[in-house]
Symmetry: C2
Subunit: 873 residues, 2 copies
C-alpha cells in the first residue's frame, strides 16, 4: 500500500514534492534534533488521489491518518478528548511552492465543549482556554464551512463595544464563554449542523478542506500565472499545539539569521510576550527587538542563537525562522530561506563562501539575475516615493530612477541641457532623428512602442532610464503638452520623476539614492565567469557605451551598429547626397566624405576595443530612414544637389515603403547598391591598419553582413566585402586579416543555414528580426495587441523580451544543427535583445552558442545567467 502519511521523523528536506515545503522543512528540523512540536504530514499524493476520486478521501488514507494519530498520542502522552491531557493540534496546508488563496491554518483543533474546560483547569487560565476555543470555532467556521469572517468578527466587536474594551486582551473568561456560545449558534445557523464535538471529525473535515482549497479559483489563477502544475497537489501538516499566549513566560516571534536589507550577519527580528504568531504580524501591539529576549530569557535566547546557527549552516542560507516560547520552553515552528534585498543577497552569498558554508558554484545558483539591475542604477528614496501617486504607467524599458524637466523635441532638449537643466524627453515614439536628444536626456518616455522599440533599445544600450508604451499619457508633440488620465495637463519644462524599473511616472521631483560600485556583485560575477561556458559580449558602438560594456567586463563587442553613425548633421547630409545624387561625381564625393567620417568612428571604436573582438555590422536599415522629412531639410538638400525640390520629393516618394521592416534593407542594399558596403569595409580596414601601424594594436574585427536570406546572396555580398578588404590590405603591405560572417535573423536563413554556413566564418542570431518574422509581429506595432495576448494568457511571455523557444527557438536549433554539419567549429552567437535575458540565455547555453551579446547594462546579468545555465544540471 502506498504510504500517504509521514511522521516528521520519517521525512527530509529533499521531499518537498511529496511533503510540501513546510512539511519537508518540519521533518528536516525534527531530524536535526531541534525542538519542533510533534506531528505528521499527509502527502501531496493523498491530495491528488482525493481530487481524482471526485473529492473523496479514500479509506486507506483515513486508516493511515488514524494509525499515525495514535502514535502521536503515545509519543506526546496526550489524547483527543482526554480528560487530563487533551491533544490539541494545528492543521496547515503546505504545497511545494507557497501560494496565496489556499486554506492556510486551523489552530487549536481538538477543543470541544468538554476539553475546553480541561484546558482551563489545567492551565488555570480560563481566559486563555475559551479564547482558544472561540478561535477554533471561528477558523473552522471560516475555513471549513466558508462562513463569512465578519459574522464572527461582528459579535466580538459587539462585546467589546458593549463593555467599552479597547483591546481583545480586556475580555474576561465570561466574555469568551459568551462568544463561544454565540459562535456555535452562528455555526449551526450557517451550516445547519452542530459544530462537530468529535476531534477526529474535526480533523478529517479540516484535511478535506485543505485538499479542496487546492482547486479553488484563486489558487488556480495563481498557479496558471506562475506556471505551477495543477498535478502537484498540496500536503497537510498536523502538529501538536504550543502556546505563546499562556502568560508572561510565553511568547512568539520571527527572526532572520542575517539582516535582510543589508546582508550583515547577526540575528534580526522581533517578538511579543504572551502572544500568538498572528499578533506579531497584526501590528496591534508593537513587537520588541529580538535582542531584548537575551535580557528577558537568557537561556532561551542562547538556545535560539544556537538553533539559528545550526539551521543556517544546515540550509546554507539566511533563514527566516518562526518560534514560540511556551512556559519558557522554546519551539521552532517554521524555517525557510529568508527574502532579502538584492544588496543583501550578494553580501550573504559572498560571506557564506568566505566562511566556507557555500562553494562558489552554490553561491552563483543562490542569486537571481534580476537582482542585478537595481544595483546598477539609482533608486528613489522609498519613504518619499510612498507619498507619490503615479500619473501614468508604461513598460519598464530601462531601469533607473531620475527627475527632470519635460521636453518634446531633441533640439529643445539639447538647448535646455546646455542651460544646465536635467531633461526628460517625452515623445510619441523615437526615431534615429532623436538620438542627439536621447543622449543628453536623464530619461526617455514614449506613449507608443514595446520593450524593443527604438527608444527602449537605445536607452538600455546607454543605461538611460526609459519608460515606453505609456498609452495612458496623451503626448502632443506639436502642442507640447501631456494629458494624464487624471485630466492634468503637463507643459514643457514641468518637473517629473521617472522610475524605469517599475515603468511609473510621477509629478515633481523625488530624491534618489545613488548606486555605488557593489563589491560583492563584482566578486560573484568574477566567480560566474570561471563557471561559464558561454562568453558575454556587448551591443555597443558609442564611446560611452563601449566604456560601460568593458566596465562590466564584456569580453568584446558582439554588435557595433554602423547606421547610428550616419546621423548627425554633416553625416546625414552626405548620406542623403549619396542616396539621392543623380550624378556619379556627386555620389562619389559623398561616398568619400562618408568614408572619412566612418574611419574616424572606427578609429575611436577600435582604440577602445584594443585586441578584444568587435563585430561590426554593415548598414542595416532601409535607405529612406536617412531621407529628409521637413521642408527645410528638403530645401537644403535640393540646393546641395542642384536638384529641384520636386525632384527630391519624387525620389523620396519612390524610396518610401509600405512595410520597411520587410523592405529594401540589410544586405539587399548591397545587392542593388554595392558602393555603401565597399565604402564601409574600406573604412573599417583602413582604421584597423592605421592602429596596427601606429600603435601595434591588432584589432580583431569581425565584419557582419545583415539580413541574409539565401546562400548565393551572401556569397555575392561577401565577395564584394572581401575584395575591398584584399584591396586595402594589399596596398598597405601590412599583415592583417579579419573574419566575415552574417546575422541569422530571417526564418529562411535558419532553414538554409547549412548552405549559408559555407560562405560565413561566423553566425550571430538576430532574435529581434527573427522574432518579428517568425511571429509576423512588428516590434513597432505589436504594442497594440501584445498586452491583450499576455493578459489573456495566449502567450507566455513577450517574445521580444524572452525568446520563444517553441517557434523562434526551434528555428535557431535547426540553424545550429545545419551549420554544424558543415562547419562543426563555427563560432555562433546571438546579438538580439534576448541575448541579455536570463531565461533565454539558458536556452542559448543548451543549444550550444559560443557567446551572447547584449546591451552594456545587461552584461552583468548575462554573465550570471551564463554561469547558472552552465551549472544547472
Amino acid at each position: 500500500m502506498k504510504k500517504f502519511v509521514y511522521q516528521f521523523s520519517e521525512g527530509k528536506k529533499e521531499q518537498a514534492d511529496l511533503l510540501g515545503g513546510k512539511g519537508s522543512n518540519l521533518a528536516e528540523m525534527s531530524n536535526l534534533g531541534l525542538p519542533v512540536p510533534h506531528g505528521f504530514t499527509i502527502t501531496t499524493e493523498a491530495c491528488v488521489d482525493y481530487i481524482h476520486r471526485g473529492f473523496v478521501l479514500q479509506e486507506e488514507i483515513k486508516k493511515q491518518i488514524l494509525i499515525t494519530l495514535e502514535k502521536m498520542e503515545q509519543i506526546t502522552g496526550r489524547r483527543f478528548s482526554d480528560e487530563k491531557n487533551p491533544l490539541l493540534v494545528s492543521v496547515r496546508s503546505g504545497a511545494k511552492f507557497s501560494m496565496p488563496g489556499m486554506m492556510d491554518t486551523i489552530l487549536n483543533l481538538g477543543l470541544n465543549d468538554f476539553t475546553v474546560d480541561v484546558l482551563a483547569k489545567k492551565t488555570k487560565n480560563p481566559v486563555f482556554a475559551y479564547d482558544c476555543y472561540r478561535r477554533l470555532l471561528q477558523m473552522f467556521g471560516e475555513v471549513v464551512s466558508q462562513i463569512p469572517k465578519n459574522r464572527f468578527e461582528d459579535q466580538l466587536e459587539y462585546v467589546k463595544k458593549k463593555n467599552s474594551y479597547m483591546s481583545d486582551t480586556e475580555l474576561t473568561a465570561a466574555d469568551w464563554q459568551y462568544l463561544v456560545k454565540i459562535f456555535k449558534e452562528i455555526y449551526l445557523h450557517e451550516t445547519g449542523k452542530e459544530f462537530p464535538q468529535d476531534p477526529k471529525e474535526q480533523l478529517f473535515l479540516a484535511i478535506e478542506a485543505v485538499f479542496m482549497s487546492w482547486m479553488n479559483p484563486r489558487a488556480k489563477v495563481y498557479r496558471s500565472l506562475h506556471h505551477i502544475s495543477e498535478k502537484l497537489g498540496t500536503a497537510v501538516n498536523i502538529q501538536e499545539m504550543v502556546f505563546g499566549n499562556t502568560g508572561e513566560n510565553s511568547g512568539t516571534g520571527v527572526a532572520f539569521s542575517r539582516n535582510p536589507a543589508t546582508g550583515e550577519k547577526g540575528l534580526f527580528g522581533e517578538f511579543l510576550m504572551n502572544a500568538q504568531g498572528e499578533d506579531v504580524v497584526a501590528g496591534v501591539r508593537t513587537p520588541r527587538n529580538i535582542t531584548e529576549l537575551e535580557v528577558l530569557m537568557p537561556e532561551v535566547y542562547k538556545e535560539f542563537l544556537g538553533i539559528v546557527a545550526k539551521l543556517e549552516a544546515h540550509y546554507k542560507d539566511m533563514q527566516d525562522i518562526e518560534f514560540t516560547i511556551e512556559n519558557k520552553k522554546l519551539f521552532i515552528l517554521q524555517t525557510r530561506n529568508g527574502k532579502r534585498t538584492p544588496k543583501a543577497a550578494f553580501k550573504i552569498v559572498v560571506d557564506l563562501v568566505e566562511s566556507g558554508v557555500l562553494t562558489k558554484e552554490e553561491a552563483i545558483m543562490r542569486v537571481q539575475p534580476e537582482m542585478i539591475a537595481p544595483l546598477l542604477h539609482p533608486v528613489f528614496d522609498e519613504e518619499i516615493l510612498k507619498q507619490h501617486i503615479a500619473i501614468g504607467e508604461g513598460l519598464p524599458a530601462s531601469p533607473g530612477s531620475t527627475s527632470g524637466q519635460i521636453y518634446f523635441h531633441a533640439a529643445e532638449a539639447t538647448l535646455a541641457k546646455a542651460r544646465g537643466e536635467r531633461v526628460i524627453l517625452f515623445r510619441k515614439e523615437t526615431s534615429p532623428d532623436d538620438i542627439e536628444g536621447m543622449v543628453i536626456s536623464e530619461a526617455i518616455v514614449t506613449s507608443r512602442g514595446g520593450m524593443t522599440s527604438h527608444a527602449a533599445v537605445v536607452a538600455r544600450g546607454m543605461g538611460v532610464c526609459c519608460v515606453v508604451g505609456c498609452e495612458e499619457l496623451l503626448i502632443n508633440e506639436e502642442a507640447k503638452t501631456v494629458h494624464t488620465k487624471f485630466g492634468e495637463v503637463l507643459n514643457e519644462g514641468d518637473l517629473v520623476s521617472i522610475d524605469g524599473s517599475s515603468g511609473k511616472i510621477y509629478l515633481g521631483e523625488i530624491p534618489t539614492e545613488e548606486a555605488s560600485e557593489n563589491k560583492n556583485l563584482k566578486t560573484v560575477l568574477g566567480w560566474a565567469d570561471t563557471c561559464s561556458r558561454m562568453k558575454v559580449r556587448a551591443n555597443a558602438e558609442t564611446a560611452k557605451d563601449i566604456a560601460a560594456a568593458f566596465s562590466f567586463d564584456a569580453v568584446g563587442i558582439g554588435l557595433a551598429r554602423t547606421e547610428h553613425m550616419f546621423f548627425g548633421e554633416e553625416r546625414i547630409l552626405n548620406m542623403r547626397k549619396l542616396i539621392l545624387a543623380t550624378d556619379e561625381r556627386e555620389r562619389n564625393k559623398a561616398l568619400a566624405t562618408l568614408k572619412e567620417i566612418q574611419k574616424g568612428d572606427f578609429l575611436e571604436i577600435f582604440a577602445l576595443t584594443q585586441e578584444k573582438p568587435v563585430t561590426v555590422r554593415l548598414l542595416d536599415p532601409p535607405l529612406h530612414e536617412f531621407l529628409p522629412k521637413t521642408d527645410v531639410e528638403i530645401e537644403v538638400l535640393a540646393r546641395e544637389l542642384s536638384l529641384s525640390e520636386v525632384e527630391i520629393r519624387e525620389r523620396i516618394d519612390a524610396l518610401e515603403e509600405v512595410n520597411p521592416m520587410l523592405g529594401h534593407r540589410g544586405c539587399r542594399l548591397a545587392v542593388t547598391f554595392p558602393e555603401i558596403y565597399i565604402m564601409q569595409t574600406k573604412a573599417i580596414v583602413e582604421s584597423a591598419l592605421a592602429l596596427k601601424v601606429q600603435q601595434g594594436i591588432n584589432t580583431k574585427v569581425e565584419i557582419m553582413i545583415p539580413l541574409t536570406v539565401e546562400a548565393r546572396e551572401l556569397a555575392f555580398v561577401k565577395e564584394q566585402v572581401e575584395e575591398a578588404i584584399t584591396e586595402v590590405v594589399e596596398n598597405s603591405k601590412v599583415d592583417w586579416s579579419c573574419k566575415v560572417g552574417t546575422m541569422i535573423e530571417i526564418p529562411r536563413a535558419c532553414l538554409t543555414a547549412d548552405e549559408i554556413a559555407q560562405h560565413a566564418e561566423f553566425f550571430s542570431f538576430g532574435t529581434n528580426d527573427l522574432t518579428q518574422m517568425t511571429f509576423g509581429f512588428s516590434r513597432d506595432d505589436a504594442g497594440k495587441f501584445i498586452g491583450a495576448y499576455l493578459d489573456k494568457k495566449l502567450l507566455k511571455n513577450d517574445p521580444f523580451q524572452t525568446l520563444d523557444t517553441v517557434g523562434v527557438g526551434e528555428l535557431i536549433r535547426v540553424a545550429i544543427d545545419k551549420a554544424r554539419t558543415v562547419k562543426p567549429a563555427m563560432k555562433l552567437g546571438v546579438c538580439g535583445e534576448t541575448g541579455g535575458d536570463p531565461e533565454s540565455i539558458h536556452f542559448y547555453h543548451e543549444v550550444g552558442l559560443d557567446y551572447v551579446s547584449c546591451s552594456p547594462y545587461r552584461v552583468p546579468i548575462a554573465r550570471l545567467a551564463c554561469a547558472q545555465a552552465n551549472l544547472k544540471k
Copy 2:
C-alpha cells in the same frame, strides 16, 4: 574499355543522355529503316573525358573513331581522299538539350585540293564542287579556328560586286575557284598554318572544336539560365554528306506532320529545289509549299508521306522533319517533336488519343500548363502587333490583350466607363479603395509592386489584363500624366494597348482576336480531373469571380475574402463607425448594419456555391485600411459620429502602423476586438440557414480564421466563433453545422502546427504571407530589389510566384508532418498565389495536400498541373 563511339545502328532514342538529342534520333530513325545517311555518334562521355583531361582527346577515343570511320567507309563504299568516291561528311554537335552558343555544323568535311576536283568531275558540276569546298573552308575557319565570319563574307561580296551579281547562284566555277584560293590564304594568314588537307586531321580538329564549344561563355550562360548541368557534355555526329544542291533533281525542305498553328492533321511545310538546308531558312529564295512536291516528284512525295506517318506513330507526337533529295533519292536528316501553338497542342493530343496513338495519361503529359492562359484571353493580331514598339514593359501580372483610354482615378474611370469608353486604369499602385475602378477597367497598369501586389492579385482574380511594376513609366496621378522612357507624355484619355501576357504597353489601339471556348482544352482537362489526386478550388468572393471559377470547373471556393465586402460607400462608412465609435450604442448600430450587409453578401455567394464547399476567411487586413484618408471623408465621419475632426484624426493616427503587414490584423483583431468575427460568423450562419430553410440547400461552409500564430490564440478565437455558431443554430432549430479551421501563413504556425491542429478542422496554407515572413520580403516593397536578385541569379524564381521549396516549402513540410501526427486525416490545402503555379503544384502534390485554391483564371492551369503531378513518376 568504355564505348565512346556508336554507329547510328547501335543506338536508340532513349539514349539522349549518352548520344545527345540529335544522335539518338538519328539512331532511332536508322533502326526504323528510314533513309538516313550513314554515320556515327561520339558520346557525351567522350566530351566530359576531353574536358577533364584539360581539353585533350585521349588515344582510346581517337582509336574508336578511326575504327568506326573505317566501317563507315566500307558500308558507304566511299573513302576519305578516294580518287573516285571520296567520302564527305558533316560534323554536328548534339547535346541532350539543344542550346544556342554551341558550335553547330561543319559540312563537306573531307574536301581538299584533290577531292574537290574528283567531286567536280564525278558530278560534272564544278560550280557545285568549288562552292562546297569554299563552304567547308569558311565553316571550318569560323568554327574551328575562330576566324571572323566577315573576313570570308567580305571577299564573297567583293566578287559579287565586281561582277555585278545579284545572288550567289550567279557565281561561276572560276569565281568559286578564285574564292577557294583566297579563303585558303585567309586561313593561313589568320592561323599561321595551311588549311589541313588530310580529312582525318580535319575530322579530329572539328570534333575537338565541338567539345570545346561546350565550355564557351555563351553556352555556360545559357546552361546556368536554364538550369542545365555542366556535367552533361555534348555528343558529336559524323554523317555522310548528301546534297540537295546538285541540280534540279535535288532539293531540301522542312515539314511538320500536322499544322503547327491549328493542329490540323496533314503535311505542312516547304521546300526548295537545287538548294541546301540553310537556303530554305535564309529567305533569299521563296520556298514552295510541300504539296507541290507531289507534282514534281510523286514517288519521292509518297515515300515521304509514308515516312512522316511512320515517324509520328513511332514518336507519338507531331514531328518536325528535315529532308534532302539527292538526285531523286530521299534522305531524312533530322526529326524532332515540332513546336506548336497552344491551340494546336490541345488539338493534336486530342486527335492522337482519338486515333489510339496516345493514352489519355500520355496526352496529359504532352501539354504544358503555360499553354492554357493564352487560350482563355483575347490576343493581339500578330501582324499588326509587329508594327508597334512597346513604350514600356512591366511584369505580366494577368494575361489578356486589350486597348482603351488612360484614367488615373477610380471615380473618373467609372464616369468614363459610364460614357461608354473602354478604360485602362493607370496607378502607381492600387489599394482596396480603387476596387470600384478596377472592376470596370479593361486593364490595369501600375508602376510599382510585384506579381502578387494588390493590383496583380485582384486583376488575376477577375481575369482582367494587368501589368504591374512598370517602373519605366513615371505615373503622376495628380498631374494625370505618364512619362515614358522615350520622353513621350501621355495624358488622361489617350489610347493605349496592354498585353498582360508579355507585360508590354503600346501606344494606340491594336485589334485583338477573341478567345472562344476551346473544346480540346476542355476535353484534356476533363481527362486531367480523372487522373488527379488533388482537387482544385478557386479564390473568389464576387458573383463574377465565382461564376468564372465554376465555368472552369473549380470543385469549390477555397478562399472567399470578406474584407473586400467592406468597401463600397455605405459599407465602409459603417465599418469606420464601428472602428472609431466611442460610444457603445453607435458601435452596436454599426455592427448591426454591417451584419445585414454581410448577410446579403453571403446569401449571394452561397446561392452560387450551392452544395460545393466554400471557405470563408474572416476579416484579415489591419483596421486602418478602412479608415478615411481624405478631408471630406473625415468630415463626413466626424458628423456621423458626432466627434470633432481633430478627434477622428487622432484616432486614425493611433491606428496607424509602421509595418502593417506585421501589425494588428487577422485574428489579432479578434483577440482585442471580438465583435467583428462574431458579427461575421452570425451573418454567415444566418445566411446558410436561410438558404436551407427556403431552398433546401445544404451550404458547406468552412469558416477560416486567418493569421494564427499560437495554439492558445486559435483556441480563444475559435471559441468565440463556435459560440456564435451554436447560438444562431440553436435559436433556429435547423440541423446545420460547419467546419472551423485556420490559415497557416506565419512561420511560427508551421513550427507549432501539431498544437494548432488540435483546435482546427482544416488548414489552408497562405503562401503569400508565409513567403513574406520566411524571406522577410514585403510583397509591396520587394519590387525594389527582387529584380536584381533574379538578374544576378541570387534567387532562382520570384518566390511570390513559384513556391520556394527550400525555405517556405520546408516550413510547409514541417507543418504537414506535425499536423498529421495529431490528425492523420485532416484536410489540408493551399490558397496563396502559388496555388495556381504548376511548379509549386508539383510540390503540393508531393507533400500530400488535398487541394489547391487559386484565382479563377488559373483554375484550368492548376487542374492540368495536378494531373501531371500525379502522373509523374
